[in-house]
Amino acid sequence: MQYLTSEEVRSLELKANEIRQSIIEMLTEAGSGHTAGPLGMADIFTLLYFGILKHDPKNPDWEERDRVILSNGHICPVLYATLAHAGYFETEELLTLRKLGSRLQGHPHRTSLPGIETSSGPLGSGLSQAVGMALAERIDNPYSSKFFYCLTGDGELNEGQIWEALMLAGKEKLNNLIMIVDRNGIQIDGYTKDVMPLEPLAEKLESFNFDVQEVDGHNVRAVNDAIGKAQAVYSQPSVIIAHTIASKGVDVFERDFRWHGNPPGKGPEDRVTKDKQAEVALQKLRTLAGTIEAQDIS
């Protein structure tokens, strides 16, 4: 397990902040898309691509790379922004999001953009694909050190297919599979506890033969440690339930399910009027006036 120094943690947090700014800029330019999930997962994406993964942005098809399978495709702005900041393509291209002819489709398309492992959007199928990849790897190389990271939402866990995939992964003891659940507690229609209660989630996942950890999804060091432990699990697949704050980093958007599917400029107006939403979000991120700063100090 790789230990992160305070300087490394600080540098990852600053990178995550840059990625959040890119997310706001690209969503504002697109005029549609999802805000809450991408902002909430920026810390984890940054940690993966700048701290954890074996990958090569200049050789995205490198056989030995770890795989990141984004199952909840609607949070792709964070994937695109992270890939661009990691050097897969120019950050300028982020502003083409959702436009005709763009490689940055509204939901990811595998063959359009380097670094995209699968097409996703319809919820629930990414985990199955990660299971398939992990199974294939085990056939070819049972002692491989390649890991398959599958990122899912929590609302996404409503999908029956997720539980089909969990059954197979548990049965096959896929220890090269690491699932990370974005447990932000919101989905389109409201809070997950109201729309479709998931708890006791950890116990449910344990009963499918998964090694389960729960972690603060914005504590980079804690997530890093959890992934390290998951990599070391010997005979089970792993899941990390990452407790995150929807729209993390822009305090006036945080924890509000109405930001699930709206871009800045089209979100709820009780705290910031539409015409000021993009500007305020960027200002909050630039000055670290959101809750990021409080956490940095702690």
């Binding site: 595998r110 097409s119 199928s125 199955s128 694909q129 199974l135 059954m167 049965k171």
Partner: protein, 328 residues
């Protein structure tokens, strides 16, 4: 006149029968021996889909996924992303029926090299009844970009289609039947994805002409109907369209020009399957009078396979009636 690469002396009394799924079982085993990238995933129907031969020969390359067809499709997609050639097998009603969206997004949109094997297609599934008789599978797969759709006619062709699918790079769907289907072709009958084959050529001296375009399990009935109709004075030929997508439009248009009347025959809804595909092609290129033989916008029901084929109007007399409709 029958094509010379078919079984000799074809007649309802003497023809041998075997389920097309047997050909798949043999073909999969052979494909697995030829290429170690071939893997099989099955949903608790390993014996019934004839995936069992492969599973016992290559246990490390076989995945038992349980009764979970949505997972089946996407696990196949994931395995193909790592370079495998997955054959995913279940009943057509469940795959590509139940898991159509996963087939669309994770297989076709990804252009994943997955082979979808839909067993128990058609009403000839028999006593299990309508819930298990897939008669819409070609319509729903044909509408998907990147997808190849094949309906093998018999055991030999199912074997060849399996081998061809393993070699072809990209998504392929092929359907199989449960009951014993007349064996019409031989090991020598040519098979190529996307190529229609003339299986019967009309008697030149018959003035009235009708071309039968058939796919899958009803090839034998189409051939018998053609033989009878030629005796009755109508020049009927048979074009076997094993690949419904991509349609061999060149061969089809030539066939329509030669005969001026077309009957399509399939064990499937007449909406969206072969009949739909032929009508689309001819409507744009060479408008031709047509009659479609198949299930006419209704569900199947329980019964013995032959009874059901007759009940739903796909037996030899029904095909002859369709021909007569065009020339009388």
């Amino acid at each position: 006149m029958f094509a010379n690469h078919l079984q000799p002396n074809l007649s309802p009394e003497t023809v041998e029968r075997s389920p097309t799924r047997n050909g798949y079982g043999d073909g999969l085993l052979e494909a697995g021996k030829r290429d170690d990238r071939v893997v099989a995933i099955c949903c608790d129907l390993t014996g019934s889909t004839r995936t069992d031969q492969f599973a016992s020969e290559f246990p490390d390359r076989f995945i038992q996924a349980g009764v979970a067809e949505q997972n089946l499709a996407s696990v196949g997609s994931g395995m193909s992303a790592m370079g495998k050639i997955p054959f995913i097998a279940s009943y057509a009603m469940f795959s590509p029926g139940r898991n159509w969206e996963q087939v669309r997004t994770t297989i076709c949109y990804n252009n994943a090299n997955v082979k979808i094997v839909g067993a128990h297609a058609g009403v000839s599934v028999g006593p299990d009844g309508a819930t298990h008789q897939a008669i819409e599978d070609m319509a729903i797969t044909r509408a998907l970009p990147n997808m190849v759709v094949i309906a093998p006619a018999d055991e030999h062709e199912a074997r060849k289609a399996t081998l061809a699918a393993a070699k072809y790079e990209g998504p392929v769907y092929f359907r199989l039947g449960r009951s014993a289907t007349p064996i019409v072709t031989t090991a020598e009958t040519p098979f190529e994805i996307g190529k229609a084959i003339r299986m019967y050529t009309r008697k030149e001296s018959n003035e009235k002409k009708v071309g039968i375009v058939v796919t899958g399990s009803l090839l034998f009935n189409a051939l018998m109907a053609a033989e009878e109709m030629n005796k009755e004075g109508v020049g009927v030929s048979v074009l076997h369209m094993a690949t419904v997508k991509p349609l061999d439009s060149e061969a089809l248009i030539e066939f329509a020009k030669e005969h001026g009347n077309i009957v399509t025959v399939e064990e499937h809804q007449i909406i969206g399957g072969l009949g739909g595909a032929v009508a689309e092609c001819l409507g744009e290129n060479y408008p031709t009078k047509m009659v479609r033989v198949g299930v006419n916008d209704t569900f199947g029901e329980s019964g013995e396979p032959d009874e059901l084929i007759a009940h739903f109007g796909m037996d030899i007399p029904s095909i002859m009636n369709a021909v007569k409709k065009l020339v009388d």
